[in-house]
């Protein structure tokens, strides 16, 4: 007879439990919140960190990849200048939110307040038994922001949620509600430094009511020793549009999950993802996208640049419910593999139960086009610059789609700088 034995705890697992034991009395929350935290932690204790045997973590064996669970952040960190001049910055420094002002028509409160009042108890739940990020963040979430944009309000200023971390362990939560026909552009920016090991989790929960139009940009630029686990969930009401940008340009171990529920007729979801991977980092972007009702559309384009010994993963699952006739869902994952030692795994998955839909996915892996390189060099552009131009062009096509020119310029500059630093 076979006995199922649990593998011994890894150092990282033990450290997580220890840090919970250490923090448990200080974490904000009423009795309901505390109960929710205990449940989530015991789920982690029960199953351990996910391994490659868990399907959704197959390409990111967290149990083996998570190295070091640091304690409270001890380094000095301070908010940085916003990506775009004139943006409203809502800082979270070393895990603690401030008390910033909000633009007209936007109601803002620190997430810590919602924990303290118990309002957040219902938000501290995992999506399923394999939702390690939900479990971890729910158990440890300390602060962040909760905000809502009034119906019909067009927020002119760009809002920058700025999480700054220098080592240590940080768990943020952002909750955003966009009222009917509201519109806003939000940058969710994760800043780190090159110091000690950091561990961060961050969950953003978006709710777009009917006709809301939101551009949300996740800009992950943690330090080269940092481990970052991000998750964004979104529900789109009728005729709502979410344009989501994910730009990964940092971190040692990164997983960004995106879970979108296209729930209202006429809704549209866009994902544009740029993964800039170098060194011996591991970066995983995992998408689950559900089309639940008829007449909805989505388009995902993922572009990856792989240097050094970096490894990247994209898992994209699109589910089209039986009722969701006339769905149009397009997904493409293109990788520019610039190193023999780098690798990228792409796993598209379509689950289609409706019969009158257009769904497509494609994955390509390419190297720099020899003809392109020769053409640029024949104009006097050195090989190094020509390569940088071409790599930049490969990802720039996605950035160029953004409506705000300042934003396009800022992101282009950021990408160029990354290529200069790592190319």
């Amino acid at each position: 007879m076979n006995m199922q034995t649990k593998p011994p705890r890894t150092a990282a697992e033990q450290a997580l439990l220890d840090s919970f034991a250490e923090k448990v009395g200080q974490l904000p929350g009423d009795a309901k919140v505390t109960l929710a935290r205990d449940r989530l932690l015991s789920a982690i204790t029960e199953t351990g960190l996910p391994t490659r045997r868990i399907e959704s973590w197959h390409y990111t064996d967290l149990r083996n990849l998570l190295r070091g669970v640091p304690g409270k952040p001890s380094g000095a960190a301070r908010a940085v200048a916003p990506l775009i001049r004139g943006a409203v910055v809502w800082p979270v420094v070393q895990g603690v939110a401030g008390n910033p002002a909000a633009p007209e028509g936007v109601d803002l409160s620190p997430f810590m307040d919602l924990l303290a009042s118990g309002e957040a108890a219902g938000m501290l739940a995992a999506r399923g038994s394999d939702d390690l990020i939900g479990q971890l963040n729910g158990a440890f979430a300390e602060d962040g922001y909760s905000f809502s944009v009034a119906a019909g309000q067009a927020v002119e200023e760009i809002i920058e949620l700025q999480s700054v971390q220098s080592g240590g362990q940080v768990h943020n939560r952002f909750v955003a509600n966009f009222g009917a026909r509201a519109s806003a552009t939000v940058i969710e920016r994760h800043v780190g430094d090159e110091g000690q090991i950091g561990l961060s989790s961050s969950i953003s929960s978006l709710d777009l009511e009917d006709g809301a139009e939101v551009t949300w940009i996740i800009l992950q630029g943690r330090g080269e020793n940092d481990q970052h686990l991000g998750q964004l969930t979104a529900r789109l009401g009728a005729d709502a549009t979410l344009k989501l940008y994910v730009i990964n340009a940092g971190g040692k171990l990164v997983r960004q999950e995106v879970h979108v529920d296209v729930a209202g007729e006429g809704a549209h979801f866009d994902l544009r993802c740029v993964n800039l991977l170098a060194g011996d980092s591991h970066t995983d972007v995992t998408l689950t996208l559900g089309h639940a009702v008829p007449h909805t559309t989505s388009k995902e384009i993922i572009r990856n640049v792989v240097l050094g010994r970096a490894r990247g993963v994209f898992q994209g699952q699109i589910r089209v419910a039986q009722a969701a006739q006339k769905t149009d869902a397009q997904m493409a994952c293109n990788t520019l593999l610039l190193s023999d030692e780098g690798e990228f795994a792409a796993k598209p998955e379509l689950e289609i139960f409706a019969d009158d839909v257009i769904c497509a996915h494609g994955a390509t892996v390419i190297d720099i086009d020899h003809n392109h390189l020769f053409y640029l060099m024949a104009r006097g552009i050195t090989e190094k610059s020509a390569r940088a131009l071409l790599v930049n062009g490969f990802v720039d096509e996605l950035i160029g789609e953004l409506a705000n020119e300042d934003l396009v310029e800022a992101l282009e500059t950021l990408i160029e700088q990354w290529l200069v630093d790592h190319g």
Binding site: Y375, L376, G380, T382, L389, L390, G393, F394, D396
Partner: protein, 251 residues
Amino acid sequence: MLEIKNLHARIADDGTEIIRGLNLTVKAGEVAAIMGPNGSGKSTLSYILAGRDDYEVTEGDILYNGESILGLDPSERAAKGIFLAFQYPVEIPGVATMQFLKVAMNEQRKARGEDELKTPDFIRLVKEAAASLQIDPAMLKRPLNVGFSGGEKKRAEILQMKLLAPKLCVLDETDSGLDIDALKIVSDGVNALRAPDRAIIVITHYQRLLEHIVPDSVHVLYQGQVIKSGDKDLALDLEANGYAQIIEAAA
């Protein structure tokens, strides 16, 4: 300015010899036409001059202003003033035309030890040059050559040539794919660049282009060699009688 001596070159991949003992001299201020039947090695010669690494030179030399350029990569040759107008300019999605022009101009200036262009000066130069070639400014906002018609691509090549002001211009079948009006605009653009310190090599199949860009010398390329050289009347002779007679005489 340009001296090609007993040049032998082959395709690097499979060793097929394309250029077999080619000799050619082009002086500063000269416009030289290179004609020849399909497969005679005309385009290959232009690629070898520009430094494309798909070809390897096995014998002979290419001297530019008295110095061998065989050891230079394409960008170094360009910075020294060699320019190839491509027969098929490549489309590069994601690279904006203006950005490309600016990088190219500044990299060449940098290689020559000159200061970078200031943005307003750069924009003024491009606008003036574009207007003279009747290039719609909207075209310059697109990614490089993407969605350009055949004629627009050729005009864009001449625009680049004008802006980079090279000393040795190699035009590879610039007339292909051009209608009469576009041919006139492109030829005028090239003629405006004729200068005592600049040489232009025009590679073409047809006499037609040479009515607009009148050459000082005409060279017939066949099986990787120049088999006959003459003045502009040689092109007229070829137009009237074809290549067969010359090929026979050279055999």
